[in-house]
Each structure stands twice: as C-alpha cells, then as structure tokens.
Symmetry: C2
C-alpha cells in the first residue's frame, strides 16, 4: 500500500493580485498557522468604505486547527485586520516587541486588549507547534523590528520574506540576518514566498540613512521652524529627524494623533534614542524662537483631516504656517493620493513656506527590495519552489520572470490568487483547489453589511443623484389623492429647475392615468411605468440618469 505523499498547503487569503490585506495560511495536517492579518484601503469606486479586510470564512470553519497569527511587522497592511479577525477567531498573536506594541494600542481602541493573547518574540526565536515550528528572522523595512519567517515543516522549510529591503546601514544597526538566510539556503528551502512590491524597479533601494543626510542638509540651512511630515510608523525616519534636531539644537514637538500614539509606544519600548529635554509639548512651541523648533507631523499623504492638511488650510489649532517655515514631506504619495498631496503642497507654498518634497530632494526611500536585492535573496535562499507574494498580477508575473532569469525552472514558480489552495510536497507544487476568499468592507460599525448592491447604489447616487416621486393612493378605489410630489437631491439645482419638475409631475400624472385606464393596479407595475416615463424624459432633457425612487402610500 502506497503511503500518501506528505504535503503542506499554502492558502493566500489576501495580498495576491493586490497591494495590501496580506494574510497567508500555512497548513500541515492538524496545524494551521496564519502569517499576517492586514487591511487595505478602499479603491476609488468603493464609495463610503473605511477599510477592506480579508474574508476569513476558511479560518472560521477550521478554527480548531488555527494555532496562531504570526506577524512579520507592524504596518497596517499586515496587522490592520486583527481587531476584526480576532473577534471571529481569538487565537494567540505572535510578533516582535514593537509590532505587538502597535497591535496593543490598536486592540485597546477596540476594547480587545484584555481578551487577546499577545506573545512577544524576538529575532531568532522559534515557536514550536505540534508539527511545525516558526522561526523569526531579522530583516530591514520602513518600520523597525521587522522579520521574515521560516516555517519548519516535515516536508522542508517554507521561507516568507515579509516586507523587506536590504539596508547595509540601518538606523538601529541590526542588518538583515544574511548568515541565517544562507544557512537556511544550505539546509534546503522547499518554498519561498517573497515580497514583489518593487520588482519593477531596477537596482537597489537606497539606505534609510541617506534620508538622514538630506535632513541634516536642510536643517543646517533652515532659518526658522522645520516641520517634517512622514508615516507615523516609520520609527527610523522619526529617529533621524530627532537626531538632526539635536545636532542643530532644536526642540521636537509631535503633531497628529497617530504620530503621538506611535511615539508613545516606541519611546516606552525603547525604540527611540532621544535626550531628556528634546521633546516638548506642541502647546509650548511658541516659547522658543523658530530656529529652535522641529515639528514632526502626520499628513504626508495629504489626508484631508490630518495635522499637516489642517496646518496648510489654517485650520490647525496650534500650528500656524508662516513665511520662513520649512516643510519637509518625507514620503512619496501612495498611488491615488497624488492630487491630495499636491493640494497641500500648493497651500503651503501660498503661505510663503518652503516645501521640500520627493520631486525636489531625496527626502524618502522605499521600504521594499528592488530587483538587485531580490536577486540577492533568491540566490541566498535558493528555494526549490517559488511563489511571489505582495503585489498585483503584474508584479507577481515580473517576479516570476526575475526568478526564472536566475535559473529557476518556470514550472517551479507558481503565480497564485487569493483563495487558491497550493499543495507543496518535496518534489511538486500545484494548485489543487480554492477556498472562499474576498473583500469584506468595513463601513462605520458595519463589517460586511455593505456589499455590491449597496456600492452599486452609492455609485449611481454619486453620478446623477436621486429623484423621489411620492403618490398617495386610496386603497379601495385606487384613486390618487395626493401627489405626485417630486423631490430631488444631487441631480439639478432645485430652484432653477422648477419647469423641469413641473413637466415631470405632469408626465407622472399621465402615466398614472394610463395605468388607471388600463386597470393596472399592481404597485410594481405602476412604479415601473412611472420610472420609465421619468427616466426617458430626464435623459432626453439632461442626458443624466438619476436614480428614480417611486413611493406609493396607501390609505
């Protein structure tokens, strides 16, 4: 009797064919582990949606086997879905100190901090489960305390890079653990899953330290206040601002709620190196001359309610932009945010500030590996099979091409999609099925209660507005005894369109009369007649298609 071949299942539930909501399931017999639990931001057509999280139906069905969620680092696209997912499956969460610090403050907002088991690890730690063990390995990224994961399974090692770059001179001095990667490569890695975000960029990502050099240059030149906007989670960037501030004898104030939160977490956990008197309260900035002040703020993406946007619009209670201020936007606009960022830059310039941004100086570096770094990792880890992750299809495809250019057989690379079940054995990798996967929309308190129909309606409403027609009918006779009344919103200026509305009412009356004559008494038919006559009239008059909502009241 032949023994069934030993197999590990890899099931991505997010992060493939998209940037964001990373979540990968690794499964061997009775053990399921989850790598990361991220959210993504809504696309432009997901109107009114706050965030998007992965569909975890599969995990809920197999909850008895889920051993824990293993976090590679503390970015939203890797931890942002935790509060929602943990409400459904309360399993232990493993991560490094800073990662869990950020998670904890997030869980507190959702009143979940007491019920969730957070298990703090450090690089080189190995968590042993029944049939697998998970090893945390130091990497570099645009947030401190980032890790890759080596999953030791009975069929071999599965290596997941997490998000990473190669930085030979990282701010905290702890370089990516090349020695361990080489060891794993020597031992034999069966499957690598690697970050594809920057696969289209040739060459190397610059070291985070280059940004510090730019800061020092502008700090040495600035004659008045300096305001630096960056991602709150980029502790190393913040550290470099603080270092430059101390060098040029400036106090540092913090602005923006998420920046304050992260600073508190990072300082409590010892991730920030700062002198005793450097930090001041934002309320006290005016006690110092401009050339002794640096403000670190949120808003590098031009988010309308962020601190920097409020400063630019003169709506910030504590910081008023004046000529002579130097504003450094230390971030690139995420695709989709270009116009917002540009708007903030324009406003700041108009107020007489100097604005330094990516088009003008090296004030940002990416956190993701470019082509040459990816080649280095592939060459060190030497996996037998490869599955590109973290990217749209174009990135995954090009990451495959990169692997093949390094000598990997094309058949050993699998481009998967969310929900695919990938089975890996010692000598094969293949897709064997699919599980439920998808996007769950979070809108206010609702998780999953807004779906495609609601979104379709919002899109319709957003384009041409709505027109409500109300008629009161006597039940017995079917006679119209009040209305039609027509009320519109988002369609035309009501005051300037009285004639149009009068004509519309007349047409509705006509449609109702016709229904009466033809003895049409079903509401659905009456409504659809009214709708049709209005739709074609309004389209002819305006070439617009508002949503038409006929309401019949019966007395």
């Amino acid at each position: 009797m032949r023994k069934e071949k030993d197999k590990v299942k890899v099931i991505p539930l997010g992060g493939l064919g998209e940037i964001g909501k990373n979540l990968t399931v690794i499964e061997y017999k009775n053990d399921i582990i989850v790598i990361d639990c991220g959210m993504s931001f809504p696309d432009a057509d997901m109107l009114g949606i706050d965030i998007v999280i992965p569909d975890i139906t599969y995990l809920k069905k197999n909850i008895d086997r889920v051993r824990g969620i293993f976090l590679t680092h503390g970015h939203e696209d890797h931890i942002g879905a935790l509060p929602y997912v943990l409400k459904e499956i309360n399993v232990p969460v493993y991560g490094t100190k800073l990662t869990l610090g950020i998670v904890e403050s997030k869980l507190r907002e959702h009143n979940l901090n007491d019920v969730v088991k957070l298990k703090c690890v450090k690089a080189k730690d190995v968590i042993k489960l029944d049939s697998m063990s998970v090893e945390f390995i130091r990497t570099s990224h645009s947030i401190a305390d980032s890790t890759a994961l080596a999953i030791h399974t009975p069929i071999g090692i599965i290596f997941h890079t997490g998000d990473f770059k190669v930085d030979y001179t990282p701010i905290d001095g702890s370089v990516i653990d090349f020695a361990r990667l080489a060891e794993l490569g020597k031992k034999g890695v069966i499957l690598m899953l690697a970050d594809s975000t920057n696969v289209e960029r040739p060459g190397y990502t610059m070291s985070e330290r280059t940004v510090g050099t730019t800061f020092q240059k502008f700090f040495s030149l600035a004659k008045s206040r300096i305001i630096v906007a960056t991602f709150a989670s980029n502790i190393h960037r913040i550290q470099q601002v603080i270092t430059a501030a101390e060098k040029y004898d400036r106090k540092v104030a913090i602005s923006g709620r998420s920046m304050e939160n992260i600073m508190e977490v990072a300082m409590n956990l010892g991730y920030i190196d700062i002198k005793k008197n450097t930090l001041i309260n934002i309320d006290n900035i005016n006690r110092y001359p401009g050339n002794r002040i640096v403000i670190i703020t949120t808003g590098s993406q031009g988010e309308p309610m962020s601190a920097l946007s409020r400063m630019a619009a003169s709506e910030h209670k504590k910081v008023n932009i004046i000529p002579g201020d130097t504003i450094i936007i230390s971030a690139n606009p995420i695709p989709g945010n270009e116009k917002l960022v540009s708007g903030v830059i324009n406003q700041l310039f108009k107020k007489g500030a100097e604005v330094i941004y990516e088009a003008l100086a090296d004030v940002h570096v990416s956190g993701h590996a470019c082509q040459e770094e990816l080649k280095l990792i592939h060459t060190l880890v030497k996996p037998k099979f490869f599955m590109p992750v973290h990217g749209e299809y174009r990135h995954l495809k090009q990451h495959k091409d990169l692997a093949v250019s390094l000598g990997m057989p094309s058949n050993n690379v699998i481009i998967a999609d969310n929900g695919d079940v990938i089975e890996v054995s010692r000598d094969s990798i293949k897709k064997t099925g699919t599980v439920v996967s998808g996007q769950i929309f979070v809108d206010g308190l609702g998780v999953g209660d807004v779906g495609n129909i609601v979104l379709r309606d919002r899109r319709h409403l957003s384009q041409d507005g709505i027109l409500t027609v109300v008629i009161t009918i006597e039940k017995q006779t079917g006679t119209v005894i009040a209305g039609p009344d027509i009320i519109s919103r988002g369609f035309v200026y009501v005051r300037e369109s009285e004639d149009l509305m009068e004509e519309a009412k007349e047409l509705v009356r006509g449609a109702l009369n016709e229904c009466e004559e033809k003895h049409i008494t079903e509401w659905a038919s009456i409504k659809s007649n009214v709708k049709e006559v209005l739709r074609s009239f309004l389209y002819e008059k305006t070439k617009r298609k508002p949503m038409i909502l006929p309401i019949i009241m019966e007395i």
Copy 2:
C-alpha cells in the same frame, strides 16, 4: 497734463493654479484677444461631472471687443472648451492646419461647424488687428503643428510659449524656431508667459525620436501581434508606429473612436506619411498572420470604456487578446489614472500577453520642457517681465525661482491666479484687480447647472446613501393617516436590516406623537424633529450618516 501710461492687461481665466482649462485674455484699449480655450477633467470629488470649462463671464460682458481666439495647439486642455464658449461668444478662431482640423471635427459633433469662422494660419503668419498683431511661431510638443504666440502691442512684445519642449530631432523635421525667438529677444520682449508643467524635472526632456528607437527594438523581437496604445492626438507617436510597422512588414489597423477620428483628420491634412497598402480595416486583421499586424488603439489611460480596456476585459468585438500578443502602452498615467492603467496591465498579463509600459522601457516621453529647456527659452527670449503659466501653484512658484536663478529680479516675476487683472506697462507689472473667473461644470447637457450644492449632495449620497421617510397627514387634524414608510438606498442591505428599519419607524412614530402633544404643526419643525431623531439613532447603530429626506404628504 500727464498722459496716462500705456498699458496692456493680461487676464488669465484658466490654467493658473491648475493643470488644464487654459485660457488667457490679452487686452489693449479696444482690442481683446483670447489665447487658447481649454477644458479640464473633473477632480475626484466632482462627482458625475463630465468636464470643467472656464467661466467666461468677462468675455461675454466685453464681447464687442473680442477679436478672436488664438490657439497654440490642438490638445483638449487648449481647445476643449471651444464648443461651449463659441455658443456664448461666436468670434473667429485662429490656428494651424492640424489644430483647426481637430477643432472642426469637434465642432461638427456639436453642430457648430457651419456657424463658426475658422481661420487657418501657418507658422510665421502674423494676424493684424487694430492695435495689436499676433504672430505664430513654430514649437515642438506632443502634438504636431504646435505654436507659440508673439503678441506685438504698443508697449512691446508679449510672448506666450504655449505648451512646448525643445526637440532637436522632431519627427516632422521642423524644429522650434530658435532664430525667431532670438530675434524677438533682441528686439525686446516686455513679458513672457511660459509653460510650467515640467519645471520640477531637472535636465532635458528626451526627443520624441527615442520612442521610435524603442518601438523598433520591440517590433524586431515580437513574434506575433503588436498592439500600441497611445494618445490619439500624438500624431508623431502614431507616425513612429507606422514607420516601425512598415520597416518590419506589418499592416496597421486602428481601434477606438477618437483614434479613428484623428487619423482621418491627420491623413486628410497630410500629417501622416504612410504607404498605400499599410492601413487595413480592423475587421480584416485576422486575414493576416499575427506577425504581420500592428493595432494602434486608444485606452493608454485605462479609461474604462476605451478600446484597450475592452480588449483587456474580453469585451472588444474585434480584438481578442491571446498569448503571444505584445502590448505597448506608450504613455504615462496622468495623475489619478494610475490604478486604472494598472488594472488594464494586470488583465493583459493574465491573458498571457507581454505588456511593455513606462516602468519597463522608454515607451513614452513628455511633451513639456524640463528645467534646462526652460532656461534656454528664458535666455533666448530675455523678457523684462515674466509670468509663469500652465501649472499648479507649486509649479508657478518653482518657475519663478528658476527665472530668478537666471538673474531676473524677483519683483519682475508675477505669480497670478485665474481672474487676476495684470497690468503691464513699459516699466511695470502689477495686479490691479480681479474679474469673475472659476469652474463651470458640464454634466450631460447641462452647462453650469450643477454647482456646489448639487456636488455636496452627491458626495453625501456617495458616502452613506439616503434614507427617505414618507408620512401622509390629514390636513385638517394633523393626524398621521399613513406611514411612516422608510426606504433606503446605498445605506445598508435592506433585507438584512429589517430590525433596524422597524426600530427607526418606531422612533419616527414617537417623534410624530411628541410633535402632536406639543402642538408642533409646522412642517419644517416636524421634519427637522424626524431628521434629528433618525440621524442620532442611525449614527449610534452604524456610525454612518446617510442623507435623511423626510417627506410629508397632506390630504
């Protein structure tokens, strides 16, 4: 008695503080000339708007003095508002042959081609008006037959660059007229208005011809069909595709309505150099093997209804993407379109096609001058005063800095805004007032009937939908005799929210009873009570704020 100083007024009505809808007024005593008449695309928050055009109230008021509209080139942001503006002020339109060819086909769609006077000019032509004359000067840009304008006025020459780049090897061989620019500079230019689009980019823009080299490389490699997507108006780009196709013995088919229109105009006017049998009908592409075919198509911006998007989505009637196809997207995404373009690239890759785009190869060059080209023009034209145009504030500011770095006194540069009245004399430039200016929204057939209130409602509707509450009340007694009925759209799934709606109705009944008890009989007060009770209930339950529309019917 002192004679009043001779002055020319320059009044930008569009194109300042923004990219698009370029329109500049130049005025001397009894003569007004208009330079360009462009449209812009709506921002993301201008929901449902088709295009945006400049407010020309000022021109309507002064129609008797308007001598004509002078077009620098045929791009939409310079000619797109013509059909709307000419309906209000039917003045002669001057432009080069290709520019007017494109204008004519646009006017035909609006049934205006018979009523508008189009006056065709060529480079070096001078149009004499009473007190001014307008000289057309050859430039290079991403559309053929582009010009700058020199306005000869009694106080000196005003030079407007139009959109331009410096291309020493343009496809049509006719280089920017440096000799004439130098002559004007020698004669003395009082004021220059110059394109600021690319002022943030150091160095030079590459020649259009470099794209041709890239085309030839990929044409020599492609084993099957080649599909090139680009801007329809980029005749030189299209010419280079045709040249490469003929070199590699491929037939050329055209796809997409605007591409077909422009090709017809350009071929009729002699702007395309093509062999007799190169062009084939798109219906006939399957009569040839793949390696004998090139398709030139619209859709380089990922526009959802464009030909390329339909091919990518398998919705194109005549072109079905198959493995082996090479698709070249010969354009950069315009800010805001990145996600659309990316989506199309992903779909094409999934179909097994090779996709070549800006991240991977030099398949596009800009049409606008970078810093070194701008310096060249400033140095040749040597204007006394300078007003940067075509750009957001950040671009205008940096163009000012560039001029000052070349030695121009800071006070001689004016950063203006749309609607500013700039008075120029032989020895001064200053802002002396403002005229009405702004954005007019075109939505379907409506021009200007959608304003801020309608847009505000559309934004509200787009975020959380609408909830309509209908009540029928007996006029005499004020008793509720039908309802409340509640109907929502774009708020929650109706089926899954029955309890929520029942609770909401109950609250409305309560509010109505309270009104009755307190003898509140005014509709406005009843409505606002109902609204308030629903608003706070729904926000508490869902953290959403749908539009609430109470309707009271009286019988």
